[in-house]
Amino acid sequence: MRTVGKHLHVARILANGRVSFPSNISVGLEIPAAGDLGIPESERGLYAAVSAPILNRSLRGNDWFIRRSIATARYKHVILDLVLVENTDFHGLQWLGDLRDFLENRETVLRIRALPPLELVLKFAGWESSSFAAWQKV
């Protein structure tokens, strides 16, 4: 995947289900197939992975690529992979909430892939179960 900011890596999921931006940078993640993600064939998605162990204020300002891509390429789906993230603080939650609001305003669906402890923390902070898709189980 392509690194677009500190701890943030992205890949494009094309309409035919292929993934572009497969760079040499490995963050220890495997991108699920587009079919597993539930993205319709006619739509495109953006796959973003965070490699920081803690979601905190360091991610702020690093999500410009997601925002610009949504604004220009009109992705309908953003998959945020937080499998490498162990926990989050208030600033990390605020960043996630801001990103969700930004995407909702552009009718883009945000779904999160997280390990069970982080999922529990996000639900504690008010995230609904529908934000976590079935494929997120790892």
Binding site: N87, T88, F90, P116, L118, V121, F124
Partner: protein, 239 residues
């Protein structure tokens, strides 16, 4: 009649780390609710421990009321007992005469059993009140509020729920099936349903507690036993 119970002190993942019998159920511990159920029917209880649980032994010997007829034995008798007492999966306390002894907890997740004990207790609050009805108030049926609480006028209390002594609630929604322990603080815009806030816990702003037990810096989903740590003290921390 004396009922015996086989106690094992398996480690528990929930906040506080104490054994099942020392978990809070309102102002009391589970062991007190258990002994109350037997004392009401003029029975006594003998806890047969597989291995010593020192915290439980200390609690019973030092702070457990003498009026409650509970004794402890540090082994499990090989012969059949006069009777056996144990918890069912639905949180009810069972008494079985002449039965062979069986573990006091079902094989399922202990946190789930514990929260069912809490739910049963909350359901009975309206009719029975808690242990100190003379210093508690029931603003509406099923809502029991302890003494010296500070509750803002726009706080919603939905029965059944229990607010412990000296708790502070600010513009939040509590209930149904929620308990806020003594000296806890719940901040504004937080919703607590089907959950338990343990004593002396600060809960931050705008959070959603549904199906959780929170205390110290940890949260636990009681239906699954999944636990997580909260690293930000503005969200959750001990008072």
């Amino acid at each position: 009649m004396n009922y015996e119970a086989v106690i094992s002190c398996a480690p528990v993942p929930w906040p506080g780390g104490h054994s099942f019998l020392l978990q809070e159920v309102g102002p009391k511990k589970v062991i007190e609710h258990w002994s109350d159920a037997l004392t009401e029917a003029s029975h006594s209880l003998t806890l047969c421990m597989n291995e010593p649980d020192h915290a439980l032994l200390d609690y019973i010997s030092s702070s457990f009321p003498l009026s409650k007829r509970v004794s402890v034995r540090l082994n499990v008798p090989p012969e059949a007992a006069e009777g056996c007492s144990f918890f069912e999966t639905d949180g009810s306390i069972k008494l079985r005469s002449g039965a062979t002894l069986q573990p006091f907890l079902p094989a399922s997740n202990p946190a789930e059993v514990w929260f069912r004990v809490v739910k049963r207790w909350l359901e009975e609050l309206e009719t029975k009140g808690s242990s100190l009805p003379e210093i508690e108030t029931q603003p509406t049926p099923g809502v029991v509020v302890g003494h010296h609480c500070r509750i803002s006028p726009d706080t919603q209390l939905i029965p059944p729920c229990w607010i412990g002594n000296r708790a502070t609630l600010r513009s939040c929604t509590i209930g149904p099936f929620a308990a806020v322990g003594e000296k806890s603080i719940v901040s504004q815009k937080t919703r607590i349903t089907n959950s338990y806030v343990k004593s002396g816990t600060f809960v931050g702003e705008g959070l959603c507690l549904d199906g959780l037990v929170v205390g110290g810096k940890r949260i636990l989903e009681h239906s699954t036993g999944r636990a997580a740590q909260i690293i930000d003290p503005s969200m959750l921390c001990p008072v």
